[in-house]
Amino acid sequence: METTNGATAPAALPRIGESAPAFEAVTTHGVLQLEDFRGSWLILFSHPADFTPVCTTEFVGFAGIYPELKKRGVELLGLSIDSVYAHIAWVRNIEEHFGIEIPFPVIADLDRRVATAYGMVMPGESRTETSRCVFVIDPEGLVRAMIFYPLSTGRSMPEILRLIDALQTADRHHVATPADWQPGEAVIVPAPRTQEEANERVTSGKYEVVDWYLSKATV
């Protein structure tokens, strides 16, 4: 599909709750397929370009949260429209300057196949670089969350960790999480769907009830 900016857009962009687009790509860890990550959570994220300042701070940040992500069963996979040689040179440069090894693979998406499938290029901002996109993909290969940041704004690593914690908590306990929720805090139980359930909810004494439709519990 041709956009008003003249760029090619995929027929359908990934949507929350739908299967993540399959791919096979050259990475700094060899050729990888999305299917290789089946059974693990995956954060697929793009950055605009190697050897750029904001991206460098983000890679240091992603490497910093990598151990915490691993504890949660989450793998990281980076991407930009750069060659694998540029990626290798950049991660070695980061190691030299920051003493931090980049432990996760990075896709060399020179043909933009993955970037296009995931809608990572925002032509209104840049036609040659991927924006700062984050796709959280669950162990069954479903897209569970998406974050899009512009070129000018580095992402928040605590927020990415918090998002993973919230998704995994929601799955484990069949609950939702309120604004600014942090692990250990009360969660929101699903709202009642009938008058009978609503009456039960406010009288049961099992929950912290603000009103029948907003009740919290500790899990």
Binding site: H29, G30, V31, L32, Q33, D36, S40
Partner: protein
């Protein structure tokens, strides 16, 4: 990481995985034995299968005769 170099030699991680394949093993067993993530293990096995260095039967992978040959030190 790739397991076989463009010149056909085993990489260090390739050798580590192929050594485990001396005994038929599942993906999980190989990942545990090598300490590699599952995704890396799957990618490596795909590469070994394509190169004819390993074969799969009933979800277990083992080195082929050609794979075992690659594990031997080069003849002097």
């Amino acid at each position: 990481m790739p397991c076989v170099t463009p010149t056909g030699e085993l990489t260090p991680s390739g050798r580590t995985i192929l050594e485990v394949l001396v005994d038929p093993s599942t993906v999980d067993e190989i990942a545990r034995a090598t300490g590699l993530p599952i995704f890396r293990t799957r990618a490596a096995l795909r590469e070994f299968l394509a190169a004819g260095l390993a074969q799969e039967e009933g979800g277990r992978y083992r080195a082929t005769a050609r794979g075992l040959e690659r594990l031997q030190p080069p003849a002097r």
